[in-house]
Point group: C2
Chain length 343, copies 2
DNA sequence: CAATCCGTTGGTAGCGCTGTCAATATTTGT
DNA sequence: ACAAATATTGACAGCGCTACCAACGGATTG
């Protein structure tokens, strides 16, 4: 009578323990630290769990342990395909682990990010994955105070909050432009949309590469804060072309824009690459199957997500990586759209 | 001494209550049912919450109330852009509400779906959004036993578990084919990838429309269980063309395939639409900016997500919709790629 | 004027689990 | 063989919140 046997019909840890003939706390340990149990008890608890089809109550667990098994993920956008690849990596990597993912959308606002971080903080997540390295000082303070494994993803930089996985957008853009220059293109424009911090760094890479070759001209830069789209790519290209009629190549800060440019070229009977070279960024699947195949900078988005979640979970198991910053690099995918003009 | 004042440093509801000069339970009611409080107490609690910057402990709340404020979302894939649009609608629609989204990925497997449903069940979500109408009997049983607002999305059909938002894939495909037939095309092929239940229904629509016009020929059907991609579109199109050399139109069960077909046509110097009409499905943004602009069937994916979450949250507030099944319809976007041949 | 009602408030008793630490088995070293 | 160290195990007390029910005061009623 002191303890109602199965009051709500729901199976509790107590029932499992009773069936296994152990104390509840031992049954509890079965989940948290199975190695600490003797083989025989472990067996008994395991089969009791299976027999009763026991599922732990996460709320009770969280309340008692002051922790959750939730990994918070802050990503700026769901619209952008780049992030769905990253998310996919994160979800795939979390499968099979005890952790679940709590995703939230910052909408490219670092203030929104701060707000969400505060919300997460209150719920004591087991780990955290955040996008980029441009957090507000307050956000940084919150993250540091949470003392949970934290990974900044998408780019790398100095002074990580904890860990990082990404690559240098600056260098990737620099490499793309250097390639175009090496192929003999001179009037190389750049098209940019959304202009988040990572896109800005690509722009920096472009600028420095152009300056290094004494090819820089501010009129070659066309950007907009508008979110990216193929249609926008065509429109920006039209703008650029009217400003710079002798344009011979375009670097697009993402592939959507690049494909939009290709179609705009088709519309205007501009041959690619002879009259206009095109290079995109990210190397989405469609780039290789366009006509002509479009050059791009391959970024390892899926791997980034996967790495990030793995770094969090292994850190949670006490194995911190030797090197907290992982550079996943990039690869120049040179295709027909940016090969040297026949001349 | 009976109660440690602020043991962990964390602000609890008790502290708020003390500052407001009310009992903890009254403070608790402030969050759950503010109208039940007198205006003066409500004021006092409100400012205490603000002053202490109180954030409720969701785990404690869930444990005590046997409910959570989490809405579970089951979606088959993150890779497919269609679902990122839906998810975006869901997240946008949940913003500002008290509910948070717990997303999980079924990977197009109804067994995996069942497993995830069982997991959700144990955590007592406030609501549920699931994809499609092809659940296992056991999944259905679980959903019915959960007694929380549930919305099936993406398609509509008879006998909803609870509510539904979607459209008829069968009719959408039927309409697309009827359009092609009306434009004078006769040898109309269909390209299908992934072949999930909704794609199957599009295939059914195709088949019936073709049969109704006495144009059906099984060789016109090329499908694969492989996930969709642009490259795949090109490859499937090549297969189809080798089987049916006199092909004059292709209906693609999604836009990726359609764009792949367009590029394959460019590669083979097949003029679109004169030598080959193309119609896609979903009307992704890029369809309109291709050259020539590609026809497609517009589906309201974002709205579907938004509607679904709204239906759940309003049901949670006790306002069940008069009609549990919402048909969001579709719209034939007829563009140059499927206009009647000049002849 | 007592009986009744309703709107508002508070007390009590857990929700199901785990942290802490003590207690008990088991092994090891000398 | 016995102390010391180490592996296993269990008792107890709560985590922070809310369900349930009782109590209160004032308004309404016959």
């Amino acid at each position: 009578m002191a303890r109602k046997p199965t009051k709500s019909g729901r199976i509790r840890l107590t029932e499992v323990a009773k069936l296994a003939g152990v104390s509840p706390i031992t049954a509890s340990r079965f989940f948290r630290n199975p190695e600490a149990l003797s083989a025989s008890k472990r067996q008994r608890v395991e089969s009791a769990v299976k027999e009763l089809d026991y599922v732990p109550n996460l709320a009770a667990r969280a309340l008692a342990s002051h922790r959750t098994e939730v990994i918070g993920v802050l990503i700026p956008s769901l619209t952008n395909n780049v992030f769905s690849d990253v998310l996919r990596g994160i979800y795939d990597g979390s499968e099979g682990s005890r952790y679940s993912i709590q995703f939230a959308n910052t909408r490219y606002s670092i203030l929104q990010e701060e707000k969400l971080l505060r919300l997460f903080q209150a719920q004591k997540p087991a780990g955290l994955i955040v996008t980029g390295i441009n957090q507000t000082p307050e956000s940084r303070r919150i993250m540091e105070s949470m003392k949970c494994p934290t990974v900044q993803i998408m780019e790398i930089g100095p002074d990580p909050v904890d860990m990082m996985v990404g690559f240098s957008h600056y260098e990737a853009a620099f490499a793309a432009i250097s390639h175009l220059i090496a192929q003999g293109f001179q009037r190389i424009g750049i098209l940019g949309a959304r202009m988040d911090p990572r896109v800005q760094r690509r722009l920096d890479g472009y600028r420095d590469a152009m300056k290094a070759a004494s090819l820089f001209d501010p009129r070659l830069i066309v950007t907009t804060p508008t979110p990216t789209s193929m249609t926008l790519g065509g429109a920006l290209f039209a703008d650029l072309l009217s400003q710079v009629p002798d344009l011979d190549a375009v670097f697009c800060v993402n592939d959507d824009l690049a494909l939009g440019v290709l179609f705009e070229c088709q519309r205007r009977q501009i041959t690619v690459p002879d009259a206009m070279a095109i290079v995109g960024f990210n190397d989405m699947e469609f780039m290789a199957s366009a006509v002509p195949p479009l050059s791009s900078v391959r970024t390892n988005r899926y791997e980034m997500g996967r790495n990030a979640i793995t770094m969090v979970t292994t850190a949670l198991e006490g194995h911190r990586p030797a090197e907290p910053v992982v550079d996943l690099g990039f690869e120049l995918m040179i295709r027909q759209s940016s090969t040297a003009r026949s001349a």
